[in-house]
């Protein structure tokens, strides 16, 4: 009996490490993809072989280097204006990452605050916030972002604003429901009984229990933010026209898709890998962060 007790007490040297191991390939693949995306965004000037805006009309629509007619100085070919596709892809990551990080964080802040509010106060506070969310979600999100971007004007800020305004509901709903669930748990009652105020109860007891959920939501939201940015730049109401974005590259490539399919295909590949990477990373991180699932 005593031996069992001691054996049970012998916790692994580092729980975090054990957790990281347990979350398996999902976390690692996700982490590598996300790291690639981040590195490309941060060190774009270092990695990009050319200026993304530099035009070389003599070598327009070159195919990738390994295909016949390819030029080894343009690894992934050039677009219709002779701009280096690889460089443009790398620089586009900047916009994507910036939008993803800022928009998802802001949406999370607003959504979590309102969700905690609604979930913990209940009554008319909950009713009004919940109805607001219902009404909000009834609008088609992409349409709403397009209208917003059109009204506030094009630019990075308006893209971010559009995403935040549309997507805070995603956080608010889930956090509200989970807050309610957590508040009915015995530990929440026990915390109230040691005299914690509502604010401290939420901050010290409830919020830590929401972290795994929040991490997943954030990662998913970053993926969605990237997609929305792509949609908005595809229709041309995102950042200024000369800044490369995946969406505008698709829009340009679409017109010459029969002559130069890679111009459209390559940004699509980038988008898909980024979104998959973020989702895997979020999922893996949730497993690694949750101490109950960790053991």
């Amino acid at each position: 009996m005593a031996d069992i007790a001691i054996a049970a007490l012998a916790a692994p040297p580092s729980r975090l490490l054990a957790g990281l191991r347990r979350s398996g390939p999902r976390l690692w693949i996700g982490a590598v993809l996300v790291a690639l995306l981040m590195l490309a965004a941060i060190f774009a000037p270092v990695f990009a072989p050319h200026d993304p805006l530099e035009q070389d009309l003599m070598s327009a629509q070159l195919p990738p280097a390994w295909m016949t007619g390819g030029d080894h100085t343009y690894l992934l070919g050039t677009d219709s204006l002779g701009r280096c596709v690889l460089s443009r892809l790398i620089y586009s990551a900047r916009t994507a990452v910036m939008v993803a990080l800022i928009a998802a964080t802001l949406a999370a802040l607003i959504g979590v605050a309102l969700g905690l509010f609604a979930g913990s106060f209940g009554g008319w506070v909950d009713q009004s916030i919940s109805r607001l969310i219902d009404v909000w979600m009834a609008f088609p999100p992409v349409l709403l972002s397009i209208v917003l971007a059109a009204v506030i004007g094009a630019g990075l800020t308006s893209v971010i604003a559009a995403i935040v305004v549309v997507d805070w509901t995603r956080f608010a709903r889930v956090i509200r429901a989970e807050t309610m669930v957590q508040l009915t748990r015995d530990y929440a009652a026990a915390a109230q009984v040691i005299g914690l105020s509502r604010a401290r109860l939420l901050r010290l007891e409830i919020l830590p229990n929401l972290v795994p959920l929040l991490v997943t939501l954030l990662a998913v939201e970053m993926g969605i933010a990237i997609l929305v940015e792509v949609i908005l730049s595809f229709v041309g109401i995102s950042v200024a026209g000369d800044t490369p974005t995946w969406g505008s590259m698709i829009a340009e490539g679409r017109q010459i898709v029969y002559q130069a399919p890679w111009i459209m295909a390559l940004p699509i590949v980038c988008i898909i890998t980024s979104v998959i990477g973020l989702n895997l990373f979020g999922d893996g991180l949730r497993l690694a962060l949750d101490p109950v699932q960790r053991s």
């Binding site: 007490l9 009652a189 026990a190 109230q192 040691i194 005299g195 053991s295």
Partner: protein
């Protein structure tokens, strides 16, 4: 001397249904009072009312709850919170779920100590180590760094007991603290509660349905049924010479080592039916209590 806890004519209703129908009870300083009754008798609701933990749809419709002479129901929220955890503590029913699953034991005890005693993080951890020592947890330093799911149910209950007594409370409400534990651990937990209450000078309101537990540690007891007090007094008197038919029936329904199993009799349904209809008749005349 002021009683630690005074409850006078407490009535609690959930929606239209009455749960407590005018309960009065007193706990003197340092006293261990057993609160017994079958499930649905309202004994947990009574504890919850004292702690201000009534469910959202329940309300106190009449009566007074005073802690050391101060009315808990009339008190400001902040003032009441200041008493909770420091002067009035709870040992919860289910140790498996009453600790925050994502926080280390040390963090949870530390929070309590820092919140009420204003200790620094370091001092709180030192004190937490002492507390765990007090409840006979070996290697307290290591246990402090563990998560609740990494220790056994008995250990969790000991952690919760340590937290309940951490600030030398005047009153500890033990809400069936042994129900969720297996029998071998139950005895240790009872001994622990007994030892700690002596050391910290706390009174204990021990909510339970187990007369054996009451006989073991409670000096006085109150028998509750359908939200009414049927009988109360010194444990020895009540158990040896029960005055109320219901108490006698409860005793006959309690298994004992010195009597054959055939002697066990369930509480007669006629008796409970009669008691419930009495209770419902009481509901019909709401003014009777006030008059």
């Amino acid at each position: 001397m002021t009683a630690t806890l005074t409850i006078e004519g407490l009535k609690v209703a959930i929606g239209a249904a009455n749960v407590l129908r005018g309960v009065s009870l007193e706990v003197q300083p340092g006293e261990v009072r057993g609160l017994v009754g079958e499930s649905g008798a309202g004994k947990s609701m009574l504890g919850r009312a004292v702690l201000g933990l009534l469910p959202a749809n329940a309300s106190v419709t009449a009566g007074r709850i005073a802690f050391e002479g101060r009315d808990l129901l009339a008190m400001q929220e902040a003032e009441r919170r200041n008493l909770l955890g420091r002067r009035i503590a709870l040992i919860p029913q289910d140790p498996m779920t009453s600790l925050n699953p994502v926080k280390r034991i040390g963090g949870q005890i530390g929070n309590l100590l820092r919140h009420h005693l204003g200790l620094s993080k370091r001092a709180a951890l030192m004190r937490a180590t002492d507390l765990l020592n007090e409840v006979a947890i070996r290697e307290p330093k290591r246990v402090l760094s563990l998560y609740p799911h990494e220790i056994s149910g008995g250990m969790r209950q000991r952690v919760l007991i340590a937290m309940a007594f951490a600030c030398d409370p005047a009153l500890v409400i033990a809400d069936e603290p042994t129900t969720a534990l297996d029998v071998t651990v139950q005895r240790q937990v009872l001994q622990l509660v007994e030892r700690l209450r002596l050391r910290h000078g706390s009174a204990v309101l021990f909510v339970t349905h187990d007369l054996g537990v009451v006989a073991k540690i409670c000096r006085s007891m109150t028998v509750l049924h359908a939200g009414r007090v049927l009988e109360e007094g010194e444990t020895a008197n009540v158990l040896v010479r029960p005055r109320h038919a219901y108490t006698r029936a409860l005793l006959a329904a309690t298994p004992r080592a010195d009597r054959p199993a055939e002697a066990l009799r369930p509480v007669p349904p006629d008796l409970t039916d009669q008691l419930w209809s009495e209770a419902h008749r009481l509901d019909q005349v709401p003014a009777a209590g006030a008059a």
